[in-house]
């Protein structure tokens, strides 16, 4: 909640600062600034690159600030770490009171430390000082502080106050660096202040994720290297996509060119189109097994319908004037198919291919979550079982980066191979 409010604040503050700076630095000769109508004019709305950069930076900043990262200068208050203490007041069977101190050492999660020493003054009176140690974000073991006190085990001896505030079983008292609770049986539990930062098990710091990336790229995770994991996922996507295209494109052409084919396959295609590939996983597992055949079949099916529909649309979308022109210029049916229908359908097919690659990439990760020996999805599901959140986050980022790269590559191929797209 706090994070969301801070994020929204950053958004507005950055916007206001940017527009103020812009107002000072822009000369009125700038063409777009001469437009008086910009609101509602879609052409005047382009992605502001400054905003994009600040957006990405602020996500990393928040991430760093709330995980105590060394990369960010400012941090949200972290959990308490260090030596602290609180006092307790005990009443013995004779209704006399005495005060002693509990010395606590709060250490970082994975450090091992000794308990603190009891100072010499700690043995005054009948209540004696105690020591505890506890890791940040955790709670100490319940400790009966009266056990070492003189007469502490006698009936009627009890702890009445913590730092001067009254406490009773099941109650709690806030002290300077955390909270002290009394259990039903009268033991004391110390919980150091948690601060606002996230525990690494929820969200590791960016540098930890980066460190993991380097480590796993180098030595792998569970005996599988990172490139092997990603390579397998990519291999499945590409193989499934190619198989789907090899069947889907000719099928789509046939549906675009023959009424019989269109009539026969229309119900099948229209029925399969809205079924999400993930819903097919159980059936595919039953039919083709859980391993490689099953996954490739699933991706084949994911790509098949998309490519069929794209090819069909490419054929149906041909301007009848082009067909007539080609026939009038002496083209035969075969020539019409190869010289007009096929090239004319390429833009649609590329659009379909982009969609299909995106769907396949999403599907492969999900299928690997269900079952796989190697693959990006397998890596993160295995890591999540061992609560290796850094690997899970690293995996998700890599999956996103690869999905985005695939789309960019497809778009570059499209610009290069079908430059006439959208220009007829």
């Amino acid at each position: 909640m706090t994070i969301l409010i801070i994020y929204i604040l950053i958004f507005f503050v950055a916007m206001i600062i940017y527009s103020q700076i812009k107002r000072f630095t822009t000369s009125t000769k700038d063409f777009t600034s001469l437009k008086t109508v910009t609101f509602g004019d879609e052409s005047a709305v382009t992605a502001n690159r400054t905003a994009s950069i600040i957006s990405v930076l602020s996500i990393f900043f928040l991430w760093g600030a709330f995980t105590g990262s060394s990369l960010t200068p400012i941090h949200a208050p972290g959990p308490y770490v260090g030596d602290t203490s609180f006092t307790y007041t005990a009443e013995n069977a004779d209704k006399q009171t005495d005060t002693a101190t509990v010395h606590i050492r709060v250490h970082k999660l994975n450090d091992t430390v000794e308990k603190p020493e009891i100072p010499a003054s700690g043995n005054d009176g009948f209540a004696k000082d105690d020591v505890m140690k506890v890791a940040a974000w955790r709670t100490s073991n319940p400790t009966k502080v009266q056990n070492n006190d003189d007469g502490g085990k006698v009936d009627g001896y009890r702890v009445t106050m913590i730092d001067g505030q009254a406490i009773s079983p099941n109650g709690f008292v806030d002290v300077s660096d955390g909270q002290v609770r009394m259990t039903r049986k009268g033991s004391l539990v110390f919980e150091p202040g948690k601060g606002w930062q996230m525990e690494p098990i929820w969200l590791p710091a960016p540098e930890d994720v980066w460190g993991r990336l380097i480590e796993i790229a180098d030595v792998g995770y569970q005996n599988v290297t990172l490139s092997e994991n990603l390579g397998w996922s990519l291999y499945r996507v590409i193989l499934g996509f190619i198989l789907g295209s090899l069947v889907g494109i000719p099928l789509g052409y046939a549906m675009g060119l023959s009424s019989w084919f269109r009539g026969w396959f229309d119900p099948i295609v229209e029925f399969m189109r809205p079924v999400p590939p993930l819903a097919l996983i159980p059936l595919v597992i039953i039919w083709f097994g859980i391993w490689e055949t099953g996954k490739i079949s699933l991706l084949f099916l994911a790509a098949l319908w998309i490519m069929t529909i794209a090819a069909r649309a490419g054929v149906s979308g041909v301007n009848i004037s082009k067909v007539h022109a080609a026939y009038s210029l002496g083209a035969s049916k075969t020539q019409l198919l190869t010289k007009i229908i096929v090239p004319n359908s390429l833009p649609e097919i590329f659009t379909g291919a982009r969609v299909a690659m995106g769907v396949c990439w999403g599907t492969v990760v999900a299928a690997e979550l269900v079952a796989a020996e190697k693959g990006a999805g397998k890596m993160i599901i295995a890591a999540s079982k061992f609560q290796n959140t850094d690997i899970v986050i690293m995996g998700i980022i890599l999956i996103g980066v690869i999905g985005y790269s695939i789309d960019i590559l497809m778009r570059m191929a499209e610009n290069w191979l079908v430059p006439w797209k959208g220009k007829s």
Partner: protein, 268 residues
């Protein structure tokens, strides 16, 4: 017999639901080799249908079309087409578009290149041979379409509102080009247009069609196309006779359109 002969053709479209449209009824026309005929009429009077029948894309329900004595049964390179727009092949550059017809015939590359170069120079696109067609303006694209049609050496050129999508200035230039090509090549041309002025300028013969059913309403023999071949088209338009004809035909078409509106009111 040489020339294009349209022998009493009728065309009836059966519509789903049992209705039918009589798009053409008993249309007969004879064109001699090298004649330039423009066809004019309110929209829906069957002009495109007529042209599609001449091209062989449609078979008439009655009657036959003959070219140089043989029956027209389907599309053939002897009858070239120029469309209003969207008929160029965007995946080919200007040169390959123009070379499409010869390539379909399997003409050797060297010979094709000569024809293409010559035609592109003729239509004024000598400097644009390697350009992509989608980079050209609308007027230039229609020049490519004309050159592509001529590259096949057709006997008849059929044009369906070839200049309809162009702006007025470009259109005027293109009208001159059509006349020039007609004179240089001596092709038989059938040109459909929406513009009375264009029909008068580009028609040695002018056919006005009437709708419901589509039929020939009136035919003119005109001197303007022959004059326009060698003169400035704007001078031709100043002719008093040109003005008279224009007024006459405009009134005729307006009357037809009013009648169509009347029909629509009645059927409501």
């Amino acid at each position: 017999m040489s020339g294009l002969e349209i022998d009493n053709i009728s065309m009836r479209f059966e519509l789903p639901g049992g209705d039918a449209v009589q798009a053409l009824e008993n249309v007969s026309l004879q064109l001699k080799q090298g004649e330039l005929m423009s066809v004019l009429g309110p929209s829906g009077c069957g002009k495109t249908t007529l042209l599609n029948i001449l091209a062989g894309f449609l078979a008439p329900t009655d009657g036959v079309v003959r070219l140089n004595g043989h029956n027209v049964t389907g599309p053939h390179p002897e009858r070239g087409m120029v469309f209003q727009k969207g008929a160029l092949f965007e995946w080919m550059n200007v040169r390959s578009n123009v070379a499409f017809g010869p390539a379909m015939k399997g003409m050797p590359k060297k010979e094709t290149d000569e024809i293409v170069d010559h035609l592109l120079n003729t239509v004024g696109l000598g400097d644009f041979k390697e350009k992509a067609v989608y980079e050209l303006s609308g007027g230039m694209q229609q020049r490519v379409a004309l050159a592509r049609c001529l590259a096949n050496e057709p006997d008849v050129i059929l044009m369906d509102e070839p200049l309809g999508a162009l702006d007025a200035l470009t259109r005027e230039k293109m009208q001159g080009l059509v006349l020039k090509l007609w004179k240089e090549t001596g092709k038989t041309i059938v040109l459909i247009t929406h513009s009375v002025e264009e029909a008068l300028l580009l028609g040695e013969r002018l056919v006005v069609m009437a709708p419901r059913p589509g039929r020939i309403h009136k035919e003119y023999n005109l001197p303007f196309a022959k004059e326009g071949v060698d003169a400035d088209l704007r001078e031709v338009k100043k002719h008093p006779e040109f003005n008279d004809r224009r007024e006459e035909i405009l009134t005729m078409i307006w009357d037809m359109e009013e009648e169509i509106m009347g029909h629509q009111e009645e059927s409501k």
